[in-house]
Every structure is written in structure tokens, then in C-alpha cells.
């Protein structure tokens, strides 16, 4: 269904309002990713406008692809109402600033295609920009590593990546302190993709868009309040302060996603009840995904896009019989409570001793420590000598193992032990060897446990 059917407002007017709402956010991006690096002498004068250029390239790419498509199928009249530049614009806004241009171009191509295969504007069931985003995540995942988010002279992990590396729930000092205080989160000076960080500007845009009846405010509101409710519940269960739910609302792309992505006129619910439930379900999904991986706004919006049809069906039934939403209310309450308890118990886990790890022998001379330790692998215990000199692993020698020949071979083929020694400062981030995941993981665990014992 096109937005002109779902809303009384004219589509062109809506798109114009969206652009107005996005303008301050884009200007803030120029300030944050252009002007600040310029004052630090990281980029030259033209570098100030690089964020603007980045956004322009994105929007022009999708614009040109759709223009070509409508020229090929000879329906240029439809092109006027297809607003081809929006997917690229949004995609550029949710990517890190240092994304290589070719990645942006590929992402824009996929975004446009995901719109075209469903028949163009008004018929696509998935948010095109997010499809492009997910494709970039799956294909060029290096883009989302820390160094691509660089804002200041030092590159930092995004708050959510940082939070996912903290064991346990994370104290105020661990989660918020490294980035200033919660006000910095609110204004948006924390590292993140181009536009997602400034909650303040997103809220202003939300108020403007709601007053002009451009977006479905119920979705954004119920989305954000559900995330708040669940994280607040978790913080109560684990006895931490109010900073915890606020951290979850202010970090990552939650507010930007809730205001601009989840309310996309084409791919969101049309009925009032459907919109509220879409927001609540989005909140539950985002919380679950955030606690299992790092960020889940994009994925949860795409997943909910698939259920919009069902929600609208329910919503239109509720219009005639308000009891029809009763099973949904029960279901949603159940899901909120269960997810609250499950996620809280997931964060409560304190690091325990690995039962599969055992130190056989430990020799200490002045600055050299030799461990002989075993770790359970695929076929039995792997026994290895680990030599630590001056706090660094110098050599790892495997004495005996019970792994299958192929698996052990592929671990040695990949020179995995050297990789582990090279990456010893961040062992958890060393990739495993495909085809011998268990063996390589247990080797890694062995080193992690040895280092833990050493410290």
C-alpha cells in the first residue's frame, strides 16, 4: 500500500517534511565528523564537507539506479513519485563515516534493488535502506570495526560494542564514564555512525514530524518506552541505577531508528492498534538482540516489517471489537516479563572457573613462567606448554592431543597458534578456524585461561 492510501497527507508533502527534519541531523553530522576532526588537524578544509558528500553520493546512487530502472521499463511517470534518493540518504546516515565509498555504492545498489523487486515505491515490504545496511553488515563487516567510527583523535568502540565486552551488567564507570556523561549521549558526541548518535536532534525531528502528521508517532513512542520498560526492569532486578535504562535508550541507533526507520510510511502498520503493537514488539526484539549480540535495531525493524500485515489485520478487527486485542495484550505482557527475567539472568552470570581447564604444572623463574595445562577439545584433552615472558605469551607448544587428524591439520595449516600469539592482547577477538571450530576454540580458551591464571 502506498502511503497516500494510508495517510490523508500528500506524499510529496510528507517527503518534504522528512527532509526538513533530517536537515539539522545532517548539519550536526558535518559538525561532528567534519568540523571536529578539522580542528584537530586530521582533515583539510574539504574534509569538513566530506560527511555531506558521503550522504549526497548515497542518495544520488539510489536516485540514478531507480531512474535507470524506470527508463529501461519505460515508465518514467512512476519515477516522479518513487522518491529514489531516500534509501541512499538513510543508508549513508546509518553507516560509519569511514566506510569506503565502494561499500556505500554496493549497499545503495542492494537497497534500490530491494525496492525494485517488489515493484517500486509503495509496494516494498522491507525498509530498503535497512536491507542495504544488513547486506553491508553481512558482507563488509570490517566496516563496523572500531577504527571506522573515529570521531576524535582517539578511536573508540561504540558504546554498545563496549557494553557487549563488559562481563556482567556493567557499572556506570564501565558503560558511561569512558564517553563523558549521559548528557554527552543525549547530545550525541559519542562514537557511532553518521546520524544515529544525537538523541536531542532526533527528538526535535520527532516532535516536528508528529506535529506535521508525517510519521506514525505511536510506533516510535511505544518502541522507546518498551525498551525503557524492559531495561528498567532488568536494572531493578540486578539492583543497578537508572543510568542503565537511559544508557540503552541513548546509545546506538535506537532513537534514530524509532523515529525515521520504524515509522517508514510504506513498511509500517496502518491501524492505530497495529502501530502500538508494532512498537512494543520492536522493543522486545531489540532488547533481546542487544543482549545477545551488540546492536539489534536494524534487524528488529526488518523482522517486524514482515509482521505488519498480521498486525494490521488484528488492528482492523480491534476497531469493531476491542476485546479482539486481549490475546495480543496477554502475549505481549508475557513476552516482556519473560525477556526481562531471561536477559537479567544472562547478565547476572559472573565469570566462573572453566571446568574443562586444568593446570598440570607451573614453573616460575624471574620473569619467565612456564605453564603446562590441559583444555578439553573435540576428542579429549589438549595438553600444551605455554611460555610467558614479561607478561607476554612467547611460545605455545602442543604436547599431546586427541583431535581428529583433519581438524588438527587445518588448525596447523592456518598457523593458528601464531595468530593467537599475535593477537594475545585481545584473544576473544581472534577468529576461529572454519572446519575446526571446536579445536581452535579450545586452543584459544586454553590461552585465555592461562592468562587469567597468570594475572
Amino acid at each position: 500500500m502506498g502511503p497516500f492510501i494510508k495517510s490523508s497527507n500528500k506524499t510529496s508533502r510528507m517527503m518534504f517534511n522528512l527532509l526538513i527534519a533530517l536537515t539539522p541531523i545532517i548539519l550536526f553530522t558535518v559538525y561532528k565528523h567534519g568540523y571536529i576532526p578539522y580542528t584537530h588537524g586530521q582533515v583539510d578544509v574539504f574534509g569538513i564537507f566530506y560527511p555531506l558528500l558521503f550522504v549526497l553520493i548515497g542518495s544520488l546512487t539510489t536516485f540514478i539506479i531507480e531512474l535507470l530502472y524506470y527508463l529501461i521499463i519505460k515508465r518514467t511517470d512512476e519515477f516522479k513519485t518513487s522518491y529514489g534518493f531516500f534509501p541512499g540518504l538513510f543508508l549513508a546516515l546509518i553507516l560509519p563515516i569511514k566506510t569506503p565509498i565502494y561499500v556505500l555504492l554496493v549497499g545503495c545498489l542492494v537497497a534500490s534493488l530491494s525496492k525494485i523487486v517488489f515493484g517500486g515505491f509503495g509496494r516494498n515490504i522491507f525498509n530498503p535502506a535497512l536491507i542495504g545496511y544488513i547486506f553491508v553488515v553481512a558482507t563488509f563487516s570490517f566496516v563496523f570495526s572500531t577504527s571506522y567510527y573515529e570521531v576524535d583523535t582517539v578511536s573508540k568502540a561504540t558504546p554498545l560494542t563496549n557494553a557487549s565486552m563488559v562481563s556482567g551488567i556493567g557499572t556506570y564507570d564501565e558503560l558511561v564514564k569512558p564517553y563523558g556523561d549521559l548528557l554527552d549521549f543525549f547530545i550525541g558526541t559519542t562514537p557511532g555512525s553518521l546520524a544515529e548518535t544525537s538523541t536531542l536532534l532526533c527528538l526535535l525531528a520527532f516532535i516536528y514530524l508528529t506535529c506535521t502528521k508525517t510519521i506514525k508517532w505511536r510506533i516510535s513512542l511505544s518502541y522507546i518506552s518498551t525498551v525503557f520498560l524492559i531495561t528498567f526492569g532488568i536494572s531493578r532486578l540486578l539492583g543497578v541505577g537508572l543510568y542503565y535504562p537511559l544508557f540503552h535508550i541513548l546509545s546506538g541507533g535506537l532513537v534514530f531508528g524509532a523515529v525515521f526507520m520504524a515509522t517508514d510510511p510504506v513498511t509500517s502498520a496502518a491501524t492505530t492498534t497495529g502501530q502500538i503493537f508494532q512498537g512494543i514488539l520492536l522493543g522486545i526484539l531489540t532488547c533481546i538482540l542487544r543482549f545477545t549480540t551488540t546492536e539489534g535495531v536494524a534487524t528488529s525493524i526488518l523482522i517486524m516489517n514482515m509482521f505488519v500485515f498480521i498486525l494490521d489485520k488484528m488492528g482492523s478487527r480491534v476497531r469493531f471489537n476491542s476485546y479482539a486485542c486481549l490475546p495480543w495484550v496477554v502475549l505481549v505482557c508475557f513476552m516482556i516479563i519473560v525477556s526481562m527475567f531471561v536477559l537479567a539472568s544472562k547478565k547476572r552470570v559472573v565469570a566462573e572457573k572453566d571446568p574443562n581447564f586444568n593446570i598440570v604444572n607451573k614453573e616460575v623463574t624471574d620473569n619467565k613462567t612456564i605453564y603446562t595445562a590441559t583444555q578439553k577439545g573435540y576428542g579429549g584433552n589438549i595438553k600444551a606448554d605455554v611460555v610467558i615472558e614479561n607478561g607476554k605469551i612467547v611460545s605455545v607448544e602442543i604436547i599431546s592431543h586427541n583431535e581428529t587428524k583433519d581438524r588438527y591439520q587445518s588448525v596447523t595449516d592456518a598457523n593458528y597458534i601464531n595468530k593467537l600469539i599475535e593477537g594475545q592482547d585481545n584473544l576473544k577477538n581472534v577468529d576461529t578456524v572454519s572446519g575446526a571450530t571446536v579445536t581452535s576454540t579450545s586452543l584459544r580458551k586454553l590461552l585465555i585461561n592461562v592468562m587469567e591464571d597468570f594475572h
Binding site: 547486506f135 553481512a138 558482507t139 563487516s141 583433519d406
Partner: protein, 203 residues
């Protein structure tokens, strides 16, 4: 050519998609899976066709499944003996040939109604179509997804030498190596396939 276009199990009939999605990460696994299905299909078609006059329709399916299961077991025992690493990498999808809808579908729709000769021809027609389709999917997914080309690696125990190319292309789209990439690949190939078919039929 005509029967490949019209009766292709994956692209035209959308049958046997499970294995086409799961074991097409490398070219080698894809064509060995295709040949395995061809083997089972051939023998099940022969035997189903031989006993077709003695089986009443009410117990058709259990009897046919039994026949198919027998040949799948024979095949998996053979593979385990002669190509253990291939047997490992095909995993559960080898035993799942038993319930592969191509094999059972041809037994029910064709072999149980036709003579042995015709059934053998049908098995080759469908089986080779399936194998070619699997090879195409495997080729695209391995080449663009993981940027390698494996012609012989797991089966080198039998053939004696390995044939693996690495870093063929200057780039790789790792999404194609994931299960989601399998869907995308099959979708794109089906679209191309349907385009060719429509051209072919209009001529």
C-alpha cells in the same frame, strides 16, 4: 536442452531445495550431492518400476520410502568407506536424500506408472538437471562467496590428487556463503533461468 529447461527440479519445479540451500557452499560438495541424488534416483526408479504392478496404491509410499532408504544407506556406507571426508562434510543431508521430494516425487509420479526403460530415462533427465543446477549454485556461491574454487578436495582420497583454486577474484561477497546467500543465489538464478525459458518457448 528442452527437458532441462522444462523439468529442472530446482529452477522450474522448486523441488529438493533443502539440499540445494545447505550443501552448495563449495562446488565439489554441490556436484557430489547432485551425483548422489542421481544414483539414488536411478536405482529407486528402476526398482519402483519393476514392482509397480505388485504394490497397491494404499501402501505405495511406505514401500517406496523403504526402497529409497535402502539405496541411501548403500550410498552412505560406500561414501563413508571410500570418501570419509566427503561423508563428513555432506553430513545429515546425505541421509536426508531419503525424504528428498525429487526422488519420492519421481517414484510416485512417474516410475510407478511407467516401464523400466522409461523410468531410467526419466531418472537421468531429472537427476542430471538437478546436478547441473546444483553445480551452478555451488559455482556462484563458492566463487563469489568465499573466493575459492574446489573441484577436488574431499574426494581426493579416491581420485588421488587435489584441485583447489584460491583467491580467484579480487573481491568476495561473504554473504553468499551464508544460508541467506543461498536463497539470494537461487532466486537470482531462477530469475535468469525463467528469462531464458520464456525466450526459448516463444521461439
Amino acid at each position: 536442452m528442452k527437458s532441462f529447461l522444462k523439468d529442472n527440479p530446482i529452477f522450474a519445479l522448486s523441488l529438493g531445495l533443502c539440499s540445494a540451500l545447505a550443501v552448495t557452499t563449495t562446488f565439489e560438495k554441490a556436484y557430489m550431492m547432485g551425483l548422489s541424488v542421481l544414483f539414488v534416483l536411478l536405482f529407486s526408479n528402476i526398482f519402483v518400476s519393476l514392482i509397480r504392478k505388485h504394490v497397491s496404491t494404499s501402501i505405495q509410499i511406505p514401500v517406496f520410502i523403504l526402497i529409497i532408504g535402502t539405496f541411501v544407506t548403500i550410498l552412505s556406507l560406500l561414501l563413508e568407506r571410500f570418501m570419509p571426508s566427503l561423508y563428513d562434510s555432506l553430513g545429515v543431508y546425505l541421509s536426508l536424500i531419503t525424504v528428498n521430494c525429487i526422488v519420492l516425487g519421481r517414484a510416485l509420479a512417474f516410475a510407478s506408472k511407467n516401464s523400466v526403460g522409461k523410468s531410467i530415462a526419466d531418472a537421468f533427465k531429472i537427476g542430471i538437471g538437478y546436478t547441473i543446477a546444483m553445480m551452478l549454485i555451488g559455482l556462484v556461491r563458492e566463487l563469489f562467496g568465499s573466493n575459492t574454487l574446489t573441484f577436488m578436495n574431499d574426494i581426493s582420497a579416491l581420485t588421488g590428487y587435489r584441485l583447489v583454486f584460491k583467491n580467484v577474484l579480487p573481491f568476495s561477497l561473504s554473504i553468499l556463503a551464508t544460508p541467506a546467500g543461498a536463497f539470494i543465489t537461487i532466486g537470482i538464478l531462477t530469475a535468469i533461468f525463467n528469462f531464458i525459458r520464456s525466450k526459448y518457448e516463444s521461439n
